[in-house]
């Protein structure tokens, strides 16, 4: 019990920006489903079971269109392919987390990955439980935000324009933290540069897969020089 309480207390502050971001995006998503003609049960159950923001927005369009299950699957695989990168990076970190492992993998969204990979967990806090609570809190924020959006979204008056920037700000900070830790900045620069290049070439809807493919290709090409630098780190 004491171990869990300590881990929860350590994990919670790391998730506060995600609370702001997920409530904003979740409310938006719930409202979007509401105005598209779906009852609140849809965003509620979809945020609980899918737990992947961008694809959930796309699913609304899929549900309004013709019935193409295989296309829905292919589209999901493409949008979410970046999770493969998270999995590969977390193979070690999620080792020895026991029964929590399945849930940690289920909840491996952009934000859970970013926090769980970079957070400096204090030595007296159990890392497995820390990561579990980060994931659980993120899941809860997303679930509650989408449900509330579906229920009451149309009543909100407060001007929230620009609040979605909280996610960009968080990714910038996490990028910077990783940068300050790294001895070699080649992977970081490749990620930034190749993604930007692909965005310019393929536009917002089509850049993700080419960006990932080029990052993977160049990282493999540079394997022997980079591996030497990483090892001395």
């Amino acid at each position: 019990m004491e171990t869990r309480k300590k881990a929860f207390k350590a994990a919670f502050p790391h998730t506060i920006p995600i609370f702001a971001g997920f409530w904003f995006l979740g409310l938006t998503y719930g409202i979007y489903m509401h105005v598209s003609g779906f009852r609140f049960l849809y965003p509620m159950l979809m945020s609980l079971t899918i737990f992947a923001g961008s694809v959930e927005f796309v699913t609304v369009d899929m549900l309004l269109g013709a019935f193409h299950p295989l296309q829905a699957l292919a589209m999901t695989l493409m949008i979410n392919a970046r999770h493969l990168f998270y999995g590969i990076s977390m193979l070690d970190t999620y080792k020895n987390t026991g029964r929590k492992k399945a849930y940690l993998i289920f909840g491996l969204c952009d934000e859970s990955f970013s926090i769980n990979y970079t957070a400096n967990v204090p030595p007296d806090v159990d890392r497995g439980w820390f990561m579990f609570f980060v994931t659980l809190l993120n899941h809860f924020y997303w679930f509650s935000g989408s449900t509330l959006g579906g229920l009451f979204g149309s009543l909100i008056q407060f001007d929230t324009e620009g609040l979605d920037f909280v996610m960009t700000a968080m990714f910038v900070v996490i990028f910077l933290e990783q940068w300050l830790k790294d001895k070699t900045h080649t992977p970081a620069l490749l990620g930034l540069g190749l993604s930007l290049l692909c965005l310019l070439l393929f536009k917002a809807d089509g850049f993700l897969i080419p960006a990932m493919a080029s990052i993977l290709a160049v990282l493999m090409l540079l394997r022997s020089p980079l591996e030497r630098k990483v090892r001395t780190q």
Binding site: P13, I50, V55, E56, T59, M62, L63, L64, F67, P69, A72, L73, M75, T76, L77, A81, R82, H83, L84, F85, Y86, G87, I88, S89, M90, L91, Y94, N96, I105, F106, D110, S114, T118, E161, G162, F165, V166, T168, A169, F171, V172, V173, F175, Q178, D182, H185, P187, A188, L189, L190, G191, L192, S195, L199, A204, L208, A211, L216, L226, V230
Partner: protein, 108 residues
């Protein structure tokens, strides 16, 4: 779309999402030694992916029209400077977001 068709579509999205999350762990189980190339990728991918996520979260910003991405650029600079100065995650994120909200609501 009928109700069962909706359910099937949603199940497909769940299946696709879970595949992308579980596949690496199924292919490289904890009990067996992970191939060297995958270990290497596990070390260099995160930094690259954080770069990808920054661009991904900015993907709908248009540099040629509207505000030309200026509010985003200014707010990112604020985030970076705040973070290099105080190294307090929450402060940097909140400061940058408030700055961005003020910019898009009152300035641009």
């Amino acid at each position: 779309m009928t109700f069962p068709q909706r359910i099937i579509t949603i199940l497909m999205v769940i299946l696709g999402t879970m595949l992308t999350r579980f596949l690496p762990f199924l292919l490289f189980p904890a009990g067996k030694p992970t191939p060297k190339s995958i270990q290497y990728l596990g070390k260099v991918l995160p930094a690259a992916v954080f770069g990808l996520l920054v661009i991904y979260s900015l993907r709908n910003v248009s540099v040629l029209t509207g505000t030309h991405g200026l509010p985003e650029l200014i707010a990112i600079l604020v985030v970076v400077l705040l973070h290099l100065w105080k190294r307090q995650m929450l402060l940097s994120i909140a400061g940058g977001t408030v700055c961005y909200m003020l910019l898009v609501q009152f300035v641009f």
